[in-house]
Each structure stands twice: as C-alpha cells, then as structure tokens.
C-alpha cells in the first residue's frame, strides 16, 4: 500500500483567497503596494503562487501595474474603467494607457509607437478601434496641420494645441485680431487726447495719458466684441502688436502687490504715440516704390526717360 502524502493546505493558500487578500491590501493602500508588502502580509505563500495570483488579477483588469523607482507597484484599478476595457486585449489597453498619460496635450501616433514598441499597422488598427469605441479622439494640432494628436474623449484640448483665443477651428482669426487691435488703439488715443487737452502741468498730463493693461482689458471686456473670454495676457499680446506697429509705447512701473492689475509687483503701462518723422523723402518719388528699380538704366527697356510710373506721377 502506498502512502498518500497529504499536503496540508492552509486555508489561505487558496488562489481565490490570495487574490482577494491582495485586492483588500490594494484598497488599504490606494497608492499602490509593492511585492514586498504582499510578501510581508502573507509570508507563507510561495512566490510562484503570488505571481500567479497577481497575473490573474492583472489580466482581469482589476489591478494596475506601475513602475516606480523602488520597483513594481500594484494598484487597484477604477472599477468604472475596468468595465470599459472588457473585451479589449492587452495591446489596446497599453495604447490606451499611454494616451491617458499624455493628458491634456495629447500624443502623436509616432510617439505611441515608440512607447509601446508595437508595429505601425497594429497601432493604426488599435487607434481606429478605440476611436470607434469613443474612448479617444483625434485633435488636429494648430502648429503642424498634418499632425494629429490623440487624447481621451472627454478631455478639453490644451491651449497650445488649439491655439487659444485667436484660433477658431484651426483657423487664425485675422479679422478678430484686427478689430481688437483698432479698438485698443482708439481707446489709448482718446485717453492721450483728453490728457493733452487738460493742459495741466506736464507730469500730470503725461501720467494721465498712460493706461495700464488692466484698464484696457476691462474696456475690451465691457465692449463685448469678443465672444470668447479674453484674459489679460491675450490683451497684452494685442498691445504688443500695437507696439510693433509703432503706434504705442510701453513702460513698466513698480506697483504694490495687490493693486489692481499688477503682476509680480510691476504693471505695464501703455500710451499712444505718433511717429517721429513724416514719410521720408525717398518714398515721395516714384523711384522709391518702383518694383523694377534694379532693371532701370538709361538706354534700356526700362529707363527714366520712358518710365510709366513717372509719367503717371507727373500727371497728378
């Protein structure tokens, strides 16, 4: 008669039990637990059984596997998300995770490929799959119009991708910018004029012709010409374009923290100015604006004697 060895199995060694214990541990430590922690909890379980249990939980989608600098971490997955991914295989889950990590800015398909090491055809198939399941969406980047970045369906794309207030549907809104430009300039111009009329001593005159960026912002908001909410930085970019037009000059003064409109202890003030010279002499002659200037010489096809621009100009 052979002896039957009976292996005594402790009640804890049941695989389902192990999994449940691990899940409880995960709930206890929502940030994640390391392998070490599990080992400490259940020291009598062999490493192999532990591994089997963890693998099962991972494949069921109830645990998340993360890498930290101390080693591997296991974290309980959101039950909601767990339901979504049922029916997707591992590769899709991987891709989804990468896209989720990209957050607001989205991620380009080539970057997904680098991160997941999957071939291009696979990636494309998976992306199409995920899109049809309405889990991710493609957003056209305003910087490079051919590039598409992918992000989670319910996320709002970041400003750098859509271009912020100046872009509507990937199109730069030139007229909107022009209108704002003119309105800001008119505001500053009237302010300067009223200051000039007041005829007080020059210091006061000068100071009252300045307007801070905050004032301009308030004025534009009250005008209500913009359907999109504009921030103070947006107004400052518009005022900068006026500076580059040579119509406005800017100074920065130190302001107390807490005064309206001050940023980091200083305020930007803007003032309308007029150009320092009238249009210069060269442009009053037809040669200054001539498009074929370099071809013009006496005796040639184009010469001063038969210049049609000069003839027109002389007839004024």
């Amino acid at each position: 008669m052979a002896e039957v060895k009976v292996k005594v199995q402790l009640p804890d060694a049941d695989p389902v039990e192990i999994e449940n214990r691990i899940i409880e541990l995960c709930h206890q430590f929502p940030h994640g637990i390391t392998d070490q922690v599990i080992q400490n909890e259940m020291p009598h379980i062999e490493a192999q059984q532990r591994a089997v249990a963890i693998n099962r939980l991972l494949s069921m989608g109830q645990l998340d596997l993360l890498r930290s600098n101390t080693g591997l971490l296991y974290r309980i997955k959101d039950s909601q998300n767990a339901g979504k991914m049922k029916g997707s295989d591992n590769q899709e889950k991987l891709v989804y995770q990468i896209i989720e990590d990209a957050g607001n800015k989205g991620i380009w398909s080539r970057d997904i490929r680098y991160k997941s090491n999957l071939p291009l055809t696979e990636i494309n198939k998976i992306l199409k799959n995920l899109e049809s399941k309405k889990l991710i969406k493609a957003v056209k980047s305003v910087a490079a119009s051919k590039k598409k970045v992918y992000m989670l369906y319910n996320l709002q794309p970041d400003r750098s991708v859509t271009g912020g207030a100046w872009y509507s549907d990937q199109d730069f809104e030139s007229e909107f910018v022009e209108v704002l430009n003119q309105q800001c300039f008119k505001f500053l111009q009237t302010k300067a004029e009223t200051a000039r009329e007041s005829k007080q001593n020059p210091m006061i005159q000068r100071n009252s012709s300045f307007a801070s960026s905050h004032e301009v912002w308030k004025y534009i908001c009250e005008l209500g010409i913009s359907k999109v909410e504009l921030s103070m930085e947006d107004i400052e970019t518009i005022l900068n374009t006026l500076i580059y037009d040579g119509k406005v000059e800017m100074t920065i003064i130190a302001a107390k923290e807490g005064t309206v409109g001050s940023v980091d202890g200083h305020m930007k003030l803007y003032r309308a100015v007029s150009p320092i010279i009238p249009p210069t002499g060269l442009v009053r002659a037809p040669c200054g604006l001539c498009p074929v200037f370099d071809d013009c010489h006496e005796g040639g096809e184009i010469s001063p004697s038969n210049c049609i621009y000069m003839t027109e100009w002389l007839e004024f």
Partner: protein
C-alpha cells in the same frame, strides 16, 4: 565710389559746369589721385583745357591737390563734395529763414563762386538787392557787411586755407604747389574793413532765361582796379555747420512729433547752446545745467523753473532717449544723445520706406525683428499675430530686398538644413547703406528725366525765348500795344499749355530731388556717426 554715385556726380557736374569739366571730374573720381599730365593723356583733352577745368573744380572745393614725393603734384576729386551740390538749394533756403534776403544772397553768391573775398561778396550782394528794390532806393554796404559778420560769428561762413607767409629767405626754388594752412583761431575772424558805398543798379538787364542751366563763368570781372584791403582773404561756406543745423532741426521736429511743442523748444534751446561748444561729430553734447537752460530759454516762453524741471525729467525718461541726465549739480545736468537721435531717425526712415513699399503689416514684422534682435520664423508669426502664410511671404520679400538677413545656427557640424536654426535679424547699418545707394540712383533717375523732358520740348522752349526777346526789345523801343499782342499770339494756346505742363513737371522733379536729398542727409549722418564711434 559706387556706380550710382559716379553717375550722379557726372550728371551734376555736367549740369553745373559743362562737358569738359564733367569729363575731367568723372575721370578723377573713377581713378583716384593723378598728376596733371596723366589726366591730360587719359582723357584726351588738351593740357590747357585740363588746367582750366581743374581751376574750376579747385575753386569750388571739389578737387584737392597734394605734393607728393619727387615733386609731383597729384589731384584728387572728392566725390562727397560733388554730391553736396544737390543740397545747395537747402543751404540757401535755411540762410533765408535765419538771416532773411541779405543772408540768402550772400550764401548764394558764395556757393556760386566757390570762394570770394568779403568785399567782393558785399559789393555783389548790394548790387543785386538794389536791383530788386524800387527806383531811387539803394542798399548800404554796411547792412550787407553786418549780415556777413553775423554769418561768420555763427560759423556759417569760414575762411579758406591760406598760403602761409614764409618769413625765411628760402634759397631753393618754391615748391610746385603751395601747401595751404588754415589757422584755427582766425577761421571766423572778419577783417576790419570799412566798406563804404551803395549798391549800383545795372543799366541793361541781362537775366538768365528760365530753362537754361546755370553756366559757371570761369572768371568774375571786378570793376575796381585798385587793390582791395582784404585781398587774399577768401571766404567759403561752412557746409558742416549747415549740416549741424539740419541735424538739429530734424531732432527738434522729432521731439515735437513725439511729445509737445514746449519740449521741442527746450531741446532747441539746448542744441543752440551747444552749437559752438560741441564739435559736430561728438556723440553727446556738453552737459548743460538746468539753470543755464532756464536762463537761455527764448523770451516768449515764460514757464516757471519747476515746470521746466518737470519737462526735463520727462524728456530724460522718455523711451526715445534723446536727452539723458548726466549729473545733479546745478539743478540737474542734461546732455543730448546725438548718436542715439541719429540712429532713431535713420531707423524711422527705414521703417517708413518699408511701410510705403510693402504695407503696414510688413512694417510690423520689421519693427518686431528690430526690437527682438533675433527671431525664428514661428516666433515671428506668434508675436506679430499675422497668419503663417502671409508672414512667411512678407519675410521672404523683405529678405530678397536685403532689409532683413538670416543668421544660421547649426545644431550639427554638418550644417544640415533640417537641423539648423534660422534666425531673422536686422542690421541697421547695412540696410542704411543699401537704402542710401538706392537714393543716389533715384536722384540720378529724376535728373535724367528732367533733362529728357526739357530736351523733348526744346523747340518749343527756344520759340518762347525768341518771342520773349522780341517783346522785350520792342518794349524798350516803345512799340504799340497792338504789335505786342500780335507777337504774343505767335505762341498758340495749346503750346502755351504745353509750356505750362513742362514748367510744372520740371518743378515737380526738382522738388522731388530735394526731398530725396533729405533722406540722403539723414542716412549719411547716421552712417558717419556710427563709423566715427567704431
């Protein structure tokens, strides 16, 4: 000397002095300094004519001579002086605004004749003024002398360099050409002359006709045969002083445009006070204290000291940086930053040219790159708020015209274009030079067009001249009204209209030349000032 400059010089010399002088002058400009015989040989003109032409050019300060080793005298043309001839109308007009008709005529005579003694100038101007006055009145020489003395005091006219008086008894032969020296102290010293007399009226009028170019008379005949007391002391116009004045005018008007009238008056006062004390090429004027400025303000402006101080502070704080504060003694010491002012004016000229040629959006991009010094393509689009395609187009257009340049910064040693940064930048000095060259060519074009228009209608002009001469002679001999009418009708109505159009066109082209010359002045001053600082 660039091709455009040589062309312009040749046109100017031809217009003012004639063919032969033009040939010699252009030859000298092209080939640099040469001795007499080589000039005669290369240009194929006779020695006699070359000598006469050189005399004319030297008289007008357009050619200088130097004794080289082995006793050879070489002649060198000064291209920049020839180009100044464009500015003669502006000099004359400025003197008119400052010293009224008398001053205007003095400067005009000096410019026409190159160098003159004071007595000759006074006599000529008095004669001319008397012509224009009513019968019976004459101009006293003393009045003209006074104006002349005032011009010398403010340095608008100066003495020419003289042959030095060698007291030694030099046994050797005299050098082939004298070396002229000018005594700094005496440069503006007016000799004590007692010029007594009145202007004389000429009997027969012998005016130049309207269409003829001004021909230079190589010799001017003097009526007096007795030696004048100031013989040998010749005067010429001090062009640098006029340039200083123009520069001051430009700065004052710039301040008036940017700020208000009172500030510009203050700046004008400061500039006036430093007229004599500061050399024209200095980057800063001498420091002036606020008290001094207050005392020197023109009498009409009664602003209080406090208000003046406020204005000065405002001027010093302005982003334009024309005025700077250099100290606190005497109520605050202020200087005018001349170099910065010229640079701002030159930059404004460049911006204005770009605005008129390419549009205000292009001007925005230009100013943007100017302020930020170096920018990438993408950054340009973002800052200027211009759609990418248009911004690219404008940048390339300006690049092809050399207003903007590219700076390459490679990331890899093999300079691969996909791995290189391309930054746009503006170099004001080179852009100014390029624009200056364009100005020279433009003026040459305008002059050529003017000559062409005149030549086209030559027949008509000659006819009108003949008719005028006939009328004048008939008037002198007392003809009847009917006969005069008949002669006048020789010129038909459409011809008269044609003459009108011609006159209008020629005036317009002339005025345009002067306007382009203003641009040339600003750009040249800026380039000169920058070169001196380096």
């Amino acid at each position: 000397m660039t091709q455009a400059e040589i062309k312009l010089c040749s046109l100017l010399l031809q217009e003012h002095f004639g063919e032969i002088v033009e040939k010699i002058g252009v030859h000298l400009i092209r080939t640099g300094s040469q001795p007499l015989r080589v000039i005669a040989h290369d240009t194929g003109t006779s020695l006699d004519q070359v000598k006469k032409a050189l005399c004319v050019l030297i008289q007008h300060n357009l050619v200088i001579y130097q004794v080289h080793k082995r006793g050879v005298v070489e002649y060198e043309a000064q291209c920049s002086q020839v180009l100044r001839m464009l500015r003669y109308p502006r000099y004359i007009y400025t003197t008119k605004t400052l010293y009224s008709d008398t001053g205007e005529l003095i400067v005009e005579e000096l410019l026409l004749n190159g160098k003159l003694t004071m007595s000759a100038v006074v006599k000529k101007v008095a004669d001319r003024l008397t012509e224009t006055m009513e019968d019976g009145k004459t101009i006293d020489y003393a009045e003209v002398s006074n104006t002349f003395v005032r011009l010398a005091d403010t340095h608008f006219v100066q003495r020419c360099p003289l042959v030095p008086n060698t007291e030694n008894s030099d046994p050797g032969p005299p050098p082939p050409a004298p070396t002229l020296v000018v005594n700094e102290k005496d440069m503006y010293l007016v000799p004590k002359l007692s010029l007594i007399g009145k202007g004389k009226r000429r009997r027969s009028s012998d005016e130049d006709t309207a269409g003829e170019p001004k021909a230079k008379r190589p010799k001017h005949t003097t009526d007096n045969k007795e030696p004048v007391p100031d013989d040998g002391i010749y005067w010429q116009v001090n062009l640098d002083r006029f340039h200083q004045h123009f520069r001051d005018q430009a700065i004052v008007s710039a301040v008036a445009n940017r700020m208000d009238q009172t500030s510009s008056e203050i700046v004008r006062t400061m500039l006036r006070m430093s007229e004599i004390t500061t050399p024209s090429s200095a980057p800063f004027t001498q420091p002036l204290s606020s008290n001094e400025i207050f005392r020197s303000l023109p009498i009409g402006y009664n602003i209080s000291k406090q208000v003046l101080d406020q204005y000065l502070t405002l001027l010093a704080d302005d982003p334009l940086e024309f005025v700077g504060k250099s100290g606190d003694s005497g109520g605050g010491m202020y200087v005018i930053n001349l170099h910065k002012a010229l640079a701002s004016l030159a930059t404004a000229t460049l911006e204005s040219v770009i605005q008129e040629r390419f549009g205000s959006r292009c001007a925005r991009i230009f100013r943007l790159v100017l302020q930020k010094k170096h920018l990438e393509q993408k950054q340009v689009e973002d800052f200027a708020m211009i759609p990418a395609k248009e911004a690219k187009d404008m940048l390339y257009k300006m690049l092809s015209e050399n207003f903007i340049s590219l700076q390459e910064i490679p990331k890899t040693p093999d300079h691969a274009p996909s791995r290189t940064f391309y930054l746009y930048t503006v170099n004001i000095l080179s852009a100014a030079r390029m624009l200056l060259h364009r100005c020279y060519k433009s003026i040459a074009n305008l002059i050529e067009r003017r000559q062409f228009e005149t030549k086209e209608n030559k027949r008509l002009l000659e006819k009108s001249q003949r008719v005028e001469a006939i009328i004048a002679s008939m008037q002198a001999t007392g003809a009847e009204e009917a006969q005069l009418q008949e002669i006048e009708e020789m010129i038909t109505a459409p011809e008269r209209q044609q003459l009108e159009t011609l006159k209008r066109n020629v005036n317009k082209l002339d005025a345009s030349e002067i306007q382009v010359d203003e641009t040339i002045f600003l750009l040249e001053s800026y380039i000169e000032s920058t070169m001196k600082r380096q």
